[in-house]
Symmetry: C2
Subunit: 405 residues, 2 copies
């Protein structure tokens, strides 16, 4: 492959050299499915993380913010089935105890263990099960267990989300691998649901942080399933450096190459989350161009992406582009109605803010596809952004009318 080109690799987070993982069933999920995942680097290594902006952030988020503050991590312990959120002081103690139990099992410092939890809110953690699960997960650690770990972090997800790429830089082959979970309560803000990315490239902590923030801003922070932001969102990057080569700082030439590979992996995972959005039947990409600024473009794209009327129309395969016009109008972005151009599933429906006749038959064919693109040009400037969402179906209502009970 050509220098810098990205080639898909299997294995998820263990595709990168220098990482082991495991996924085990500890009995936290009533279903008996895997519910504890462990990711361990061969040694303490540079890392970065971004977290939910929720003011109701859960105890594991609070503890993990402390762990990552020195830019170094050895391990990540994750449980699904219980979010350890709205659990007060005992929840804080439980999150710390998870880091300590993991550190004991691995023989490392608890301050180098990041803790993530996902699942139901407001229920105390079943700590006996969790402790036993952590020990089991430590024993099960394996160089090729990326898929097991990815399975153990799922909640309402219907499929495992892993991806990875390999690329060459200065004659060395590096790998970036990742996994994510998420299906509902998805409008990440700063981070997302849970996503873990590993690389064997020799990034410094500063490079990890810069690359992760840039990637998340254009991937996980540009998706929405239901406009709801979780109390437990986080996205973590660990860089083992195990593939060798000189340390890569944000100012080094190689940084852009590794950074772009990380953004690619985050983008793939983010789109998987949306495609697996609760009840989703279609992946919808909304691209806004011609805005006065990138943030205006993003605001318009999110207004469309979060409109239940747009989402139900696409579920019903109805080219009801008037709802896109409505959503543009309600966004806080500057809009000149006489310049708005809307393309719906590849079909021009509105030009200069005015309806354009189109073939309903062509629209029906285009809307039968599993991927739908909405393109809006505001005709004002050069700001642009793409946001991904899914449609709103009967199944979404069923899943969320029944989830907790």
């Amino acid at each position: 492959m050509a220098e810098h080109d990205l080639a898909f690799v299997e294995g998820g987070i263990t595709a990168s050299f220098g990482f082991m993982a495991s996924g085990v069933s500890a009995g936290i999920k009533k279903s008996g499915r895997k519910d504890i995942a462990l990711i361990v680097a061969e040694k303490r290594c540079p890392a970065a993380a971004v977290f939910t902006t929720s003011s109701m952030a859960a105890p594991p988020v609070v503890v993990s913010r402390e762990s990552i503050s020195d830019g170094l991590l050895r391990a990540i312990i994750v449980n699904a089935g219980n979010a350890n959120a709205c659990t007060g002081e005992s929840g804080m103690a439980d999150a710390r105890a998870m880091a300590e139990a993991t550190a004991t099992a691995l023989g490392c410092d608890a301050a180098d263990v990041l803790v993530a939890s996902t699942g139901v809110i407001g229920v105390p953690m079943p700590m006996e099960l969790v402790f036993a699960g952590i020990d089991e997960a430590a024993e099960a650690l394996d160089l090729v267990a990326g898929e097991d770990a990815a399975e153990a972090i799922l909640t309402t997800d219907t499929f495992v989300k892993t991806t990875g790429v390999a690329f060459e830089l200065d004659g060395i082959t590096y790998t970036v691998g990742g996994m994510a979970k998420g299906s509902g309560m998805i409008q990440p803000n700063m981070a997302t649901m849970l996503a873990f990315v590993t690389t064997d490239a020799p990034l410094t902590s500063a490079s990890c942080d810069a690359a992760l923030r840039a990637a998340v801003a254009r991937t996980f922070n540009r998706i929405t399933v239901d406009s709801d932001t979780s109390t437990n969102d986080m996205c973590v990057l660990m860089a083992s450096g195990s593939a060798g080569g000189d340390l890569i700082d944000p100012n080094d030439q190689g940084f852009a190459v590794v950074s772009s590979a990380i953004e690619h992996v985050c983008g793939e995972l983010a789109r998987m989350v949306v495609r697996d959005g609760e009840g989703a039947t279609k992946l919808i990409a909304i691209t806004v161009t011609g805005a006065e600024s990138e943030s205006d473009a993003e605001a318009v794209a999110f207004a469309i992406a979060n409109s239940p009327l747009v989402k139900t129309a696409i579920f019903g395969a109805d080219a009801n582009w008037g709802r896109v016009a409505m959503a543009i109008g309600k966004s806080p972005a500057r809009v000149d109605a006489t310049r708005v151009r809307i393309t719906f599933a590849g079909i021009l429906t509105c030009e200069g803010g005015t309806a354009v006749p189109f073939s309903e038959e062509d629209a029906a064919v285009a809307l039968a596809e599993s991927d739908v693109e909405i393109a809006v040009d505001l005709g004002l400037g050069s700001g642009e952004a793409t946001v991904w969402t899914c449609d709103l179906s009967y199944e979404y209502v069923r899943i969320n009318g029944e989830y907790r009970s």
Copy 2:
């Protein structure tokens, strides 16, 4: 009745002296249902209106903003079945032609006619049908046709929305009557869907404006069905003065009494809109207290009201209060997680940000009611606000997956 007490009266907008109305079928709706409403005061009178904040505001909104600019109106012409939105220059000409045709039929000035349209976006108005309908509506004008007019402005609504109150002030009995339509695309911002309020109190234009803005801020602007803001929203108040008495200016003693009657009528209509929200099975009142400011309280209440996860949980009669905690966390308001108190359907579920054990049986009983209250105390200050919304059901998806086709 005691001075100032409000007594319910029937008749909607024609409950007030000095108004005639009509509702006729012009063939704009394919169903053949009534689709043109006309409201006429016996003479040009003080009035006020608030309109959608949408930057994609429809031609009738643009024309009506001009009509109301002098604070005086004689008539309101409304059509349902076509929103005359995203219709460009010809849509502007059509909206003006509607005002002119109405003025001709009534023998008044077109500048004193307000135009409102609601229905599908992006379709040219069938003007021949509209003109014939306006003539028919003018001929059908009647002193007791408030219900006919209310029927003619409906779209996906399942019931007619009218209300009215009478009260005494300085020995004179005054009446405020109103009607509204709206069921989807409801998060009014500034005004709402369509709502028309009449009074025979002798308000000045300034009083109309002050009373309407105050009422709308706490009623129509505090409801949401689906977080979507229409291109055609408006709320209009006309004051015939036909009940007699001295002119009432905002500084006069009687202003607060009339203003409170207007807010009462707007509140009743707003809650009817939510109760008739597309697919709604429950009316949900969300009250936030203890916020640092009223706007913070409103932001938290709207974050909860617009959360599809909260709305589906209530549809499923599931006391999943963790989703309320999530929604509080995602709002932009200042929140101290350790002070949050959540009461869900009358049951305390969270205190000091921490889960409180509760009886699922009690919750199931409370959630079987058609009205559900969620109360949140942020424990920070004295800001408070109530927002009304409805649940999110299968029927919402069905209605909006099929609406246009």
